[in-house]
């Protein structure tokens, strides 16, 4: 398999490496976390707004973690994306069902 990699491609791989983008991703995820905690710690803000923002921060965080750190944004990750998305669809169904089934 190694022979299939051309020299140019290997050079490209090398270029993709380097800790810089991971450190940027890390700073982003810390920033999102700090915003989420600070909003709750500050209090006195509209609850619905905080809920909305918290969920938004969490979703952005997942994009950072899965996209950069689990390499999902790299090519050849169609199967993982389909797999995780199907899991997410099932999860949303279960969560919505549980909420309504329990307190409808």
């Amino acid at each position: 398999m190694a022979n299939q990699h051309s020299a140019a491609e290997e050079k490209k791989h090398h270029k993709h490496e380097g800790p810089k983008k991971h450190i940027i991703a890390f700073i982003f995820s810390i920033l999102l976390t700090v915003i989420a905690f600070a909003m709750v710690a500050a209090g006195e803000i509209n609850t619905t707004f905080i809920y909305f923002m918290l969920v938004l921060m969490a979703i952005l965080q997942v994009f950072v973690q899965m996209g950069f750190w689990m390499h999902m944004k790299d090519r050849g990750h169609v199967f993982p994306i389909v797999g995780i998305l199907s899991g997410v669809v099932i999860v949303f169904t279960i969560v919505i069902m549980a909420e309504y089934w329990a307190w409808w």
Binding site: A2, F26, T33, F37, V40, T47, L54, P80, V95
Partner: protein, 206 residues
């Protein structure tokens, strides 16, 4: 397998994907993570449905949760995700020693997280928040405890991997194992993102 190493004895640049077995391992692990997503999803749905059922006289989430400890635990886990990325990067540049060190640091962060969680649960029990206190407490301990158990398993797993790398070195057989363990660690981190958001922060908001 030896046919997959380069002529000069170096590993290919992405050793975890150099063999069909390695690629299948990564794909299979994604399927496992899809299953884990559903598993945690069911625990989250139970928690979301039951989190207001505190019962009379029992501590409410607002009284109970201490954001400082949770914030510290979050930063520990986020940082450990970064160190595991560094381990994979060292693996890609064929630097075995730095890779092992980054893995050791990741394990230490995992242990620190577990220590905080044990302290937190111990504190809660003293506040009268036991496993069978209320529907809220049961669903809380099941969800957060399950995540903690995953962290514990990850700590064991990566420790054993470090021992195996010491013994067998880094090659196209051991590299996919390290890569997959790194994916597992990130996944645990992603689950924690939802736990601190849904359980702690939303619990504090009410």
């Amino acid at each position: 397998m030896s046919g997959h190493t380069h002529v000069d004895g170096h590993l290919p640049h992405e050793p975890e994907k150099a063999t069909l077995e390695g690629r299948n391992k990564v794909l299979g692990f994604w399927l496992f993570l899809g299953g884990e997503t559903v598993l945690f999803g069911t625990l989250f749905s139970a928690f979301l449905a039951l989190r207001h059922q505190v019962g009379d006289g029992n501590p409410t989430p607002m009284e109970l949760f201490d954001l400082k400890i949770v914030a510290l635990a979050t930063f520990i886990l986020l940082t450990s995700s970064l160190t595991s990325v560094f381990a994979i990067q060292s693996m890609h540049t064929n630097k075995v020693k730095p890779m092992i060190w980054w893995l050791i640091i990741t394990v230490l962060f995992g242990l620190a997280f577990l220590g905080l969680e044990i302290y937190e649960f111990y504190h809660y029990v003293h506040e009268g928040h036991k496993f069978s206190t209320s529907a809220f407490s049961t669903s809380f301990y099941t969800l957060v405890g399950f995540h903690g158990a995953h962290v514990f398993f990850g700590v064991l797993w990566i420790s054993i991997l470090i021992a195996q790398i010491f013994k067998k070195g880094l090659n196209v057989v051991t590299a996919p194992k390290v890569y997959v363990a790194g994916m597992y660690w990130h996944f645990i981190d992603v689950v924690w993102v939802f736990i601190f958001t849904v359980v702690y922060l939303m619990g504090k908001v009410g």
